[in-house]
Symmetry: C2
Subunit: 233 residues, 2 copies
């Protein structure tokens, strides 16, 4: 079969097994989700190829995948841009996230350990601590962490995959980071507390799901009522 039994073959493989199109994909994905490339940013194939020291071919493949994933929009003969969602798409995506995350949290609840719950409470405490002297960016990050802790042990990997995708999608909103609605913060952390309490008390999955879903939905509603006006002042 192979000319070398398997030792050298395996060794050599593991060292350089990553293809260029893989590298391009990972690189671009990273830039997009971290918002280093903000929504609407024009992606020039040749420039990216040059930066990564490869030709345009692997870059195009990477962008096709990102397109299928919804992170990039592609226009024939024009080029690629980092995807940008409008308020309507944001609303729909957030509604979907509420659904997915609510279910994931309910499914994960029985598998949460004491340590997990302590961690969730700790994160929520940090959220409370940040309520005065407010930093939207930090709040958003902690908020995500809180939810991630709660649904992480969900036994349905497909569901987790969709939740992740939806998060990435929501991050394509033009301005601001993720969601943050000033008046919502206090209410939000209270709901967090309530969700943890329900889980700890061993509430029925349906109750946990309803609470988690309602929490996201309320955030969405607040966002729509409050933050709708045009961009900056």
């Amino acid at each position: 079969m192979a000319r070398e039994p398997m030792t050298t073959s395996t060794e050599a493989q593991t060292a350089v097994a990553t293809s260029k199109s893989q590298r391009a994909y990972a690189w671009l994905h990273e830039r997009i989700v971290t918002r280093e490339y903000t929504p609407g940013y024009r992606l020039v194939l040749a420039a990216i190829a040059a930066e990564l020291d490869m030709s345009v071919v692997p870059v195009r493949e990477a962008i096709r995948r990102l397109e299928a994933q919804g992170l990039v929009t592609f226009e024939r003969n024009v080029g690629a841009h980092v995807a940008m969602i409008d308020d309507s798409q944001y609303r729909h995506s957030m509604g979907t996230l509420a659904l997915l995350e609510g279910a994931a949290t309910a499914l994960a609840a029985p598998h949460l350990t004491e340590a997990d719950l302590r961690r969730a409470r700790e994160v929520n405490r940090r959220l409370v601590a940040g309520l005065d002297d407010f930093d939207p960016h930090a709040f958003t990050a902690l908020n995500q962490e809180f939810h991630a802790v709660l649904f992480a042990p969900c036994p349905n990997p497909r569901l987790l995959e969709l939740v992740t995708t939806e998060w990435a999608r929501l991050g394509r909103l033009r301005d601001s980071t993720f969601t943050f609605v000033p008046g919502r913060a206090q209410e939000s952390v209270r709901e967090h507390e309530e969700i943890v309490r329900l889980i700890e008390a061993g509430a029925p999955p349906a109750d946990v799901e309803r609470a988690a879903r309602a929490h996201r939905s309320a955030t969405l509603a607040a966002y729509l009522n409050h933050e709708h006006p045009g961009a900056h002042a």
Copy 2:
């Protein structure tokens, strides 16, 4: 393998406005969802390119997109295969579909017209009629149509997108078409009837959602018990 002479390239196709990679994508997508290319089928780039009269480059881009969508698996230096899901993935995907479709149906309910409901009933009648003299393939198709009618007017396009994706995914099960469990059919059509009744009666969205979700979950449970009794927890 001899290369194709490829004498003329600047004729004939100029009328079509769609790019070649688009055409390749659509063509492959079609073949896969119709199960003309069954799960596990090896996709050879050069062969597809020859069939579509193009080079491998657009085909590769198309396959990358299909990969991101989960319809195709890609292995470095080995090639692409039509994605194949195992029972575990099927279970998770079906659970997710129950969730998504349940919500979509509940959201769509208020927008269903008389005609929609008539159509749903008609489709279900055809399902009932097919109970004796059984054709799993036809039953599956009608079953999908029934559900599609009910959630079509769902105002959340993102949700519909995910439902569609999940359907395509479920179709990647190696054997048989979609789901069909012999003993389930009668029960299934009764539940269909009940769902339509709930919607017609203007039941609360939560009730519609619960019924639609439970219907799919029951189908899944029956599938698991029948096809793999006592599998998993």
